[in-house]
Symmetry: C3
Subunit: 352 residues, 3 copies
C-alpha cells in the first residue's frame, strides 16, 4: 500500500470536535430512483408517482428518504468506518427537506464522542453527520456510532464521555415543508384507507411478505450509495473472515424492511426522523427478510390538521416470518433471526 | 396478520361488473428505460435512440411497450392475483398510445368473467385492465384471466358465462399515432434490411441466441414493475412449495423472448396488440431461454403505405435451442421445454 | 437459422477499406449513469456530481468515459466479433469530446487489417471504430483487433500487412475541451490531495480493494451496452464450451479495475486516451478482481497549466491481491491470475 491510497482513519486519528468534509458529492437522478425501486420494490405513492406528489404540493416525487440517507452515509465510510469492526447504532436522525432528482448531496461529519475499549485494540467513535444539497441547505442530520480499530494498541486516546443522546427526536423537531399538504391525499392511489387516526400505540403489524436477498442485489445497492466498506464486496478476503462470506450492508436491510412495511403502513409515506436503530444480527445472501412494526407513539404536528406522526419500531428478521412478532427478550438480547430494530417517526395523513 | 395488511381478494370477493381502481401510480423515466435495457438487452432502434425516434415523428424514444404492459400489470396484482394459483392467459390487448419517459401510469380493472372450478376450491376470474397516463388518456387495454383461490370452500359464487374473447385483435383496431411515419426509416440504424414486404405467413424464424436467467435479474425486474406476487421473491416459503424454488414472473419471459426476437425481426419496432398469450410451463433461475417466431398473418393498415402489421407467434423455450421450432403437439399440449406461446401484432415499415 | 437472422461476418466477409455502419444508435441518460455507478461503484467526482462538474466548466457531469467506450464497442459486436474467437487488443484510442446524458451514440468501423492464421481456420481483423453523437461529431476513435473464424476453410483471403500501430497516443493528440479548467478543482470533494505533480514515472500503486463479480452483474452490464457476444449470456451453450461457463465481457473488467483505481488515483478524473490494452486471461463469475497501477510517463499539455496527463498501466488480477504488483514475466507471459493490462492517458489537475 502506498501513501496515495486511503487506509482510513483509526481510533487514534479521531479527536473530539474534528470536522470531516467527506469526498465525492453525488447527484441523484431518476436513474437512482428507478434502481431503488428495482432493488426494493418500494410502493409508497409519494415517491412512486409525480402526479401523486403534485396533489400534495411537491413539484415532483421526492427521492426515497432512505436513498438520501444511504447516499449521505456512503460518503462517510472512507473517513469514519473503513476500519470499523461494527456499525453500532443511529440516533437523532432528522430529515429536514425533501430531496428531488437532480440534487447533489454531500456530507460533513463532526466527531462528538471517543472512547477506548478495555481491550485497548478498539474503541467507539460517535459522529454527527450532516447531509447537504448543492445550495448548502442541510437535508439530513443524524448521529451514528461505530466500533473502530486502533492502528497501534499503544496509542493513547484522549477520551470524552459519550454524548448524551435523546431516546427519540421530539415531535416538535420534525420538519415538514410548508407548501406540502395532505388534504387531497388519495387513498385509492396510495393503496390503503388506514390513516393516522386508525393507528394506536401498542398496535403490532405483521408485514407478511418475505424477500430473499442475492449477492448481486446488495452489492449493486451498496455501490449505488458509493459505500466502499470492504466486507460487502470481497469474497476472496471474506472467505477467510469471521463469517466466511460477504456481509450485507445494514442499510440494505433497512430499505428492504421499509419496502415490506408498505403492506400495513401504505400511508406512512415519508420518514421524518430516525430515533434510533441497531443492526442486531448480520444478514447474508440467500437469507429471506421479513418485517413487522409496532406503533410506539402518535403525535400531532403543530399547526397541522392534515397529517400526524407515528412513532414506529420496524423490526426485521431473517428466515423467520413475523406472525408472532419475534422480538428481544426480557434480558434485552435478540434472537439470532432478528436482524434490525429501527425506530422512526413516519408522517401519515389524518382524517379531516 | 392484522386488518391493516392486504390479504388480497379471493374468488368470492369478485363480482361481475366490479371496478377495481389499483393503487400506486408510477412515473416511468429514463431510469426505467435504462434498467429495461440492462435486464433484457433490447435493441429495437425506436426505443433505443431519441434521434432515431425523431426521424419517425416521435418527440423522443417511447418506452418499450412491454415495460408499459408490465407496469400496468404490476398494479393489478395486489387486487387480482395475490391469491392466484396461475396466470392463465391474455387476450384482446391493445397498445393505444406511445408512452414517453415522464409519464405516470395507473390502472383500473373490471371483472368480466367469474366461474368456479368443480373442485369448489378455486375458480377463474376474467378482468379487463385499462392503463392510463396522468392526463387520463388510455394507453393500454387488455384482458387476462387467472385461477384464484376461494377463501372458504363453502362460499357461493354467482357465476357468469366466461366472456367471448376474440381470437385476435382486428387489424383495423390497431392504433398508430397520426404524427408518426416510417417513411424515413433507416435500415442501417435499425439493424436489418428486411421490411414488412419481405415476411410471409407461415414463415418461421429461429432467433438463435440464448440467455440464462439469474435470481437477481428477475427479482429486480419484477420489483421494477412493483409486482408483488409472492412466488417470485420468497425462497424461504417457496423452498416448501410446489417447485421448491422461486417462480419467474411470466412477463419476464415475454420480455426476454421479445429482446431475443430482434435477431430476425429487428424492424418489428413496436407491438400494437397482444392477441393472446399463455405461460405453458414455468421458468426458474439458471434456465436458458431461447425463442422463435412464426408469421401468422400480415395486414395492411388503413390509410398507410409506410408500414404494415405482422401477426406473430413468439414461442419461448427453456434449455432448448429453437432451430427445429419446438411447438405444441397435435393434441394441443406443449413439451415441457416450451414455456411461452405469445401472439402479437407488430408494426413494421413497408418498402415504398 | 433463416436468412433473416444475423449470423455475423466471417473472416472472408471482410475486406480492407470496408466501412461498416453499425446498427442501433443508443441514447444514454442519467439512468445509464446510475446503473454504471451501481455496477462499478465508481467515485470519480467529475462523473459523480453535477455541481462538481460545473466548477470545472462542464454543463453537468459527463458520462464515464468507459460507459461511452463500452456503448460504442457494443454496437460493433454484431458486425465485427459475433464469430470472434478472441478480442486481442486495443490501440490508438482517443476520447475526443465529453459525452453528457441525453447524447445518442452511434458507431462506424473501417477494416484496416486482415490476415489469415496459418491454420486456415481463423484470422485476425483490425478495425478502426469511430463513435459519434447525434450531431455527427466524433466523440471517440480507437483501433481493436480480433481473431475471427472463417466460414469455410477453403475461402481465399486477400491479405494485407497489419497496420502500423503507435505504441501510445502522443500527448499532443490528447483532446481537452477548451471551456474546461481544473483551476477550481476541489480536492476535499474529489477525495485526494495528490495532484499530477505528485506522481512520478515508475511509481506503483496498489489499489487495495477487491470486488467479487456475480453473473447477474456482468450480464446486466453487457446488455446495458447492447453487446450481444454470445459467450457472456448462454450457460446452456457454454456449459459444453471451452471453459464450461460464461465468460465475462473484457470491458467489464476494465471498468471494475478503473473504479478500484480511485483508491490511489482519485484525481485522475478522466481518461483521455487508450494507448493499448489486452485481456490476458479470462474472468468468471465468483472471481474477485483486484488492481494496481504503474505510472509510465507524465506529459504537460500544450497551453495548460491547470492539468497534465499521466500515462498509466492499469493491471487487474483475479483472486490475487496486488500488494506485490503481479506482472508479466521477463518472457512477456502473464501469470494466470493477471487478467488485464491496460495502458491509458488520464488527466489530472496540477498544483498551481
Amino acid at each position: 500500500m502506498t501513501a496515495k491510497t486511503n487506509s482510513g482513519n483509526f481510533l487514534e486519528d479521531f479527536r473530539i470536535g474534528q470536522k470531516l468534509v467527506h469526498a465525492t458529492p453525488r447527484t441523484l437522478t431518476g436513474g437512482d430512483a428507478a434502481l431503488y425501486c428495482a432493488l426494493y420494490g418500494s410502493r409508497f405513492a409519494l415517491q412512486s408517482a409525480d402526479s401523486f406528489a403534485r396533489t400534495l404540493g411537491h413539484k415532483q416525487s421526492p427521492l426515497d428518504d432512505l436513498l438520501v440517507f444511504h447516499t449521505v452515509f456512503g460518503k462517510t465510510v472512507p473517513d469514519i468506518s473503513l476500519n470499523a469492526v461494527a456499525n453500532l447504532g443511529y440516533a437523532q436522525g432528522n430529515f429536514l427537506k425533501p430531496v428531488y432528482p437532480g440534487t447533489t448531496l454531500s456530507a460533513v461529519s463532526e466527531v462528538i464522542g471517543l472512547k477506548e475499549n478495555s481491550n485497548k485494540q478498539t474503541g467507539v467513535v460517535h459522529v454527527r453527520t450532516d447531509g447537504f444539497d448543492e445550495t448548502g441547505a442541510k437535508v439530513l442530520s443524524y448521529v451514528r456510532w461505530v466500533m473502530v480499530r486502533k492502528r497501534e494498541a499503544s496509542a493513547v486516546i484522549v477520551e470524552t464521555a459519550p454524548p448524551k443522546l435523546a431516546q427519540a427526536v421530539a415531535a416538535d423537531e420534525l420538519r415538514l415543508p410548508q407548501n406540502v399538504s395532505f388534504a387531497k391525499f388519495d387513498c385509492a392511489a396510495s393503496g390503503s384507507a388506514h390513516l393516522w387516526d386508525d393507528y394506536a400505540p401498542g398496535e403490532k403489524i405483521d408485514h407478511v411478505d418475505g424477500v430473499t436477498v442475492e449477492e448481486a442485489e446488495h452489492m449493486m445497492a451498496t455501490r449505488l450509495y458509493q459505500n466502499t466498506a470492504r466486507v460487502h464486496f470481497n469474497q476472496f478476503a471474506e472467505s477467510k473472515g469471521r463469517f466466511g462470506k460477504r456481509l450485507i450492508y445494514g442499510g440494505h436491510v433497512i430499505s428492504l424492511a421499509r419496502a415490506l412495511s408498505f403492506n400495513g403502513l401504505a400511508n406512512a409515506v415519508c420518514i421524518a426522523a430516525i430515533n434510533g436503530g441497531r443492526h442486531v444480527n448480520p444478514l447474508f445472501a440467500g437469507d429471506t427478510v421479513f418485517a413487522w412494526s409496532e406503533v410506539i407513539a402518535k403525535a400531532e404536528l403543530a399547526g397541522r390538521k392534515d397529517c400526524g406522526a407515528l412513532r414506529l419500531r420496524l423490526i426485521a428478521t431473517k428466515n423467520l416470518p413475523c406472525g408472532e412478532f419475534p422480538d428481544k427478550g426480557a434480558d434485552g438480547n435478540y434472537p439470532e433471526n432478528v436482524i434490525l430494530d429501527f425506530d422512526i417517526w413516519a408522517i401519515m395523513p389524518r382524517r379531516s
